[in-house]
Symmetry: C2
Subunit: 152 residues, 2 copies
């Protein structure tokens, strides 16, 4: 993510920089939380397992779109996670091009652990925001996202 350096002052950062800072701190915090539980998982891998845990088996491309990851990168992450025994590539019943990615028992168990980590980190991150403020933050971010996607 970045080198471990003292925090710079941040007097009125632009939105782009600020978003980057918040995200990288969040990723760092999440990876630290995972490491403290003895889990060797990167943030991307956590996201993949989370998706599968929450939404059930799906195609590799669906997964890739869901976590905003390139198809090639997804293939390699699946190799990795399959190698660790957390998921399985099964043939897809309707589409012989596609794969059905599903969690193994170990993957399900891991996912249950991950849920806790995730909640703790998010709670810590938002601890200075009230309920209304959290909803607003979410709302604003979604509106910015839509504004960027639906150009003009």
């Amino acid at each position: 993510m970045k080198a471990d350096i003292p925090h710079p002052p941040d007097p009125q950062e632009s939105l782009g920089v600020l978003l980057g800072l918040v995200r990288s701190e969040l990723v760092r915090a999440m990876e630290a939380e995972l490491a403290s539980k003895g889990l060797d998982l990167r943030f991307t891998q956590f996201l993949i397992l989370k998706r599968l845990g929450m939404l059930g088996p799906m195609t590799a491309s669906e997964l890739a779109r869901a976590v905003e990851l390139d198809g090639g990168a997804m293939t390699r992450q699946l190799d990795h996670l399959e190698g660790k025994g957390y998921l399985r590539r099964c043939p897809h019943a309707q589409d012989r091009r596609a794969l059905r990615i599903e969690l193994t028992a170990a993957g399900e168990a891991l996912w249950r652990e991950l849920t806790g980590c995730n909640e703790r980190v998010l709670a810590a991150a938002q601890r200075s925001l009230g309920e209304t403020e959290r909803r607003r933050l979410h709302d604003y971010l979604e509106r910015v996202l839509h504004a960027l996607r639906d150009k003009h």
Copy 2:
């Protein structure tokens, strides 16, 4: 950033994912804006030039901290930008270890162009937010950032 794929539905994304999505769209939008002006600059390079333009000459490490970039990565970005003639590495008057990075005339000119791009993209991104909401968004993000940094 990511492959060019149709936008997935995003029903109640978690904060981590949402931040990533917004940031990557913003970066993509900014790079597209730069490209449309015929400029071949990545987002990181834009950030570096912006810092130098706004704050004046500074050390390579100050610059690295300011844009949250690793020192090694900064060296290579400086190589690149110096090669393109946008900046110069000068000896530092007080500290012989350090460099004084300053924009060339071409760099200054480029910076003036960049300012416009930056403002257009940020305005587009926030166009659905009112003045109060923009301030709130900024405020919330900074509070989240501080919460993550000052653990407990």
